[in-house]
Symmetry: C2
Subunit: 220 residues, 2 copies
Amino acid sequence: MSTDTTRSAILTAAERLYAERGFGDVTLRDIVAAAGVNLAAVNYHFGSKDELIAELFVTRSIATNRERFNELKAAESAGGGRAPIEAVLRALIGPTLRGCLGQDSERSDAARFMIRAAIETIPPIRKIKNREIDHLRKFAAAMRRSLPGKPDAEIYWGLHFALAMAQQTVRDSERLLRLSEGICDLDDVDGVIDRVVAVASLALKTGTTGTGEAAVSRRR
Amino acid sequence: MSTDTTRSAILTAAERLYAERGFGDVTLRDIVAAAGVNLAAVNYHFGSKDELIAELFVTRSIATNRERFNELKAAESAGGGRAPIEAVLRALIGPTLRGCLGQDSERSDAARFMIRAAIETIPPIRKIKNREIDHLRKFAAAMRRSLPGKPDAEIYWGLHFALAMAQQTVRDSERLLRLSEGICDLDDVDGVIDRVVAVASLALKTGTTGTGEAAVSRRR
DNA sequence: GTCTATAGACTGATAGAC
DNA sequence: GTCTATCAGTCTATAGAC
């Protein structure tokens, strides 16, 4: 029990401090001071600073991935094993955007921690993201069921672009806000999700193989 | 002259080492050893490690931004002051993608440095990126000329999504390659540019205000 | 088993001699 | 401008107290 409170105190303090000040500005000594525990406790419970960060990130990632997967399964079973492409894309990007955008996320340390993790790419987190591919494969498979006959390359590019738009919106929300001088409303999370889903599904349905107007205008 | 060779030696060595090993694994002592100069020379010539990195990044950024702007002006004067939206988007994302993707970039330290800068977001580089907004405003203005009557919010979202797809493709090329098992060809730089331009211009022409099928299917 | 205290090796930055 | 010497801060790792 004593061990668990120490462990939890470190996790809670670390998540809050990283959320507030970013990874670069927070030392282990800051964390143990905030948690009211000793410096060596970090090494004892987590092995290293990187493994502490990894545990924080893995916990939140698993939650998001489960949410994504539940939404996907719900959409597919509602459609008898096949969901419209819009629903698949919504299941892919909805949980991340709802977690990181909007008013509620202002208060949650977990949400702000995940935004930091999206912005400040540090080695322990990058390693975990690289193991995410198996999870994405399930969405590629669902997209194939939604769009039978669509070439695999198109599926992967569509998945990639959908994730790109969602992640960049989380990562660079400040740039978009300042560029648009507040015209683009990032607090309207459902509206943002709609936009990303609309663009990605439009691209997937139309096809962007280089036969479109862009390629033609390039060849002129 | 003697001062300039020391300064240049530091810049060259730093760019190569950061390109090869990333920002986290390279110390000032590594850099001065590779450059054959004294440790204190870095602080004398640049003030700090961060300012050295900033100078490297600013130099390359200015080159890219000039390339973007020249392409934009060429496209607009060819069309009598107004370019097709595809050409504007191509001027925006083409220089970055050509610089960071493809075969040629394998050899250039500058290209690999910029890829690192896109992946490992560190404070000195983030600060510079935040000052890039004035540059982007010129592209928003050109897009408005291409699509008269289009609401400003649509313009900004289209610009944001185009940049998102381009930057994420540079940043996460490895994930897309592994996910698609090589089916998505990232060495075909013009093909990638075509795809991003096609998706972004499609989104801008169609409109994604939440009246599309995505929003409708959400409201069901 | 759990934690404290401390050791030893790094880092970036700087004062001051030349 | 360049260099030596050194600072203060961080990290991992561990001996030994409880």
